[in-house]
Symmetry: C2
Subunit: 402 residues, 2 copies
Amino acid sequence: MLSKLFAKRTKTENPSRLQGLFPESNYADNISFGGGCPDESLFPSQALQAAYQKAVGLEKSHSFQYHDVKGPAALRDYLANRARQQGIANASADDILLTAGGQQGIDLVAKLFLEAGDEMAVEAPSYVGALAAFDNYEPVYHEIPLEDDGVNLDYFEEQLKQHPAIKLFYTVPDFHNPTGITMSLAKRQRLVALAERYDFVILEDTPYRDLRYHGESLPSIKSFDTEGRVIFLSSFSKILSPAFRLGWLVASPEIKEQLVNLKLAADLEVPYLAAGTVAAYLADNDLDEHIGQLKQVYRVKLDAMAKALKTYLPADAKISQPEGGFFFWVELGDEIDTRQLLLDEAVPKEHLIYVPSASFYPNWDKNNGLRVNFTGSSLSQIDEGAQRLGRILSPAQLQMAI
Amino acid sequence: MLSKLFAKRTKTENPSRLQGLFPESNYADNISFGGGCPDESLFPSQALQAAYQKAVGLEKSHSFQYHDVKGPAALRDYLANRARQQGIANASADDILLTAGGQQGIDLVAKLFLEAGDEMAVEAPSYVGALAAFDNYEPVYHEIPLEDDGVNLDYFEEQLKQHPAIKLFYTVPDFHNPTGITMSLAKRQRLVALAERYDFVILEDTPYRDLRYHGESLPSIKSFDTEGRVIFLSSFSKILSPAFRLGWLVASPEIKEQLVNLKLAADLEVPYLAAGTVAAYLADNDLDEHIGQLKQVYRVKLDAMAKALKTYLPADAKISQPEGGFFFWVELGDEIDTRQLLLDEAVPKEHLIYVPSASFYPNWDKNNGLRVNFTGSSLSQIDEGAQRLGRILSPAQLQMAI
């Protein structure tokens, strides 16, 4: 009844991209390849507990007071140093904005650049949470297909010629969500050149960047940026813990200044209890050593999932070959509707959850793909879950389901 | 250079409402009446520390995992019960949305209702953080003047007749920020009737509601709501601690459902380490007993500030008479520019900070008022700070300053 007062952007007729993304399942033997959860047995819980005690000990009752929108200087110094190590020359603590997880970084960048009708480009498919954030600013989307070495830049350049008003491009270049694809070095360089030539800004979202299990790391897109056109976004969620809701971005002063205003209007400040704890953890522990431990475990899981999918899925299923990150992507025949299969077959019959492809596309119009996560499951769950997925996708079963 | 790509809403020519609101001061004897800070000696630090340990003990390593956008059921049950005790009939845990402080509640409601050019009404003056949030959605503001018993509803109804598209009204009815004014019972009832008649939604922002030091508590506006037109917003920031960044709102299912989508797109979830800690605190402690202790201390401070302002300020200064909350409001002759006085006199010469009035008005056009906080200062700072303010505002001094 009151919905007639809602802003136009509130498209009540569309499903929510994030609410209900994972169907409920109460089966005791349910296996979820759905979320993007780290393996929680790898959280350095004791060190994080000690870090919390240290953070509160440092500020005592002031720990529970208001703080500010900047967050601890030591944490921003650490992140600036890390950015410089990753080839982002001259990054300083003043260039760092701490955000409520990477998600808030995406939302604030969207809010800074996008007005209803503004044009932006996204990889197709794209991270569902990013699309959920962008949707609220009502952009006109241009979808750029992914290839095995990243976004199709020939196609993108054609789009830029036809649509010179494109002002923002969102990409997950390292172990892309949902596909696991990594953008090649040559494409990273050419992408920056395109941004300069066609005057747009790149949001480089890199939550999985440090989690490479095979092959050699590539320079960030931001490392080729000379005009302040690239916003580098990352997060502690995958490499330390999602519970602190702590992301960060590196942006030029012109952009960062405005993002600070938007952050203030959104939630006023960086929570000290979270940011102070992470700062204390980083002072007393070696994050890269911890990441090394994660990589050892996740490498085994990635290899197990690759093998299991190849073993159990039909030969014509196209399976991505990620070298890191959290996800595999599976593409099936055009006649397959993976959302219907999820609700009718996977959840009730096989007790398996994955994420169907539609919500990863701006217009919800590709139904024949699915994303599977491997970090949050045990090795036996990976094997068993892939077997179940294989049964769901077997030609005989599909015939019945369609 | 890249600012030409920013959304129209990014008004780089305007000052930021929140960034730089409090000028820096490094004087050792600086007194700040600026922020809205609780007295941090009153935080129940030990109980909060114990609550954190309990929360982490409950979930162990899962504490550091992703959680969800709902937050702990026990906390929402507690808040629903509290809402019912305050006259919000039938409030259930499902009607509660937990937010990143009250600020996020304001921002999400603005995002749900306001499109560029949409019309809304605000009290004049209004909470600066709310205006900062609203600004980003580019509403057309209608300013409704405040009287000693709350917003001028005769004037408001005239505006509603002339501008029937007004869809949202924002109010702080209890110990208003910045003025300290409380809306009368009769006006609360009539306001709901106006909302029904002229078809708008009320955002009732009540962070100070429980902090009444004199007189009798009044029913919330939401308690008169029969059509789901009132969104009741509150926060733990003033009654427990701002560090958890935990607010909550009570809204009808139609509205709450959409706010959940917007919350997901903004930052994905309610942080467990914060919400779980507050839930554990509430399970083991009596919040109302704690609030009773706050009120004892703040009542003495309020009385001291009232007396000091009356003693030291010029006789023609109009000083509000709050019965609770955090703030007094002072209005001076139209020729006074309190921002200029702050920067030229108060900070450098008297080592005193207050908040000048301009940023509390949608159009920054009233310069002759100022807000002083009394909860964050000691009794001696209250007396000394009011003396300093009296010197700055003395007729002789003002003559020189103008």
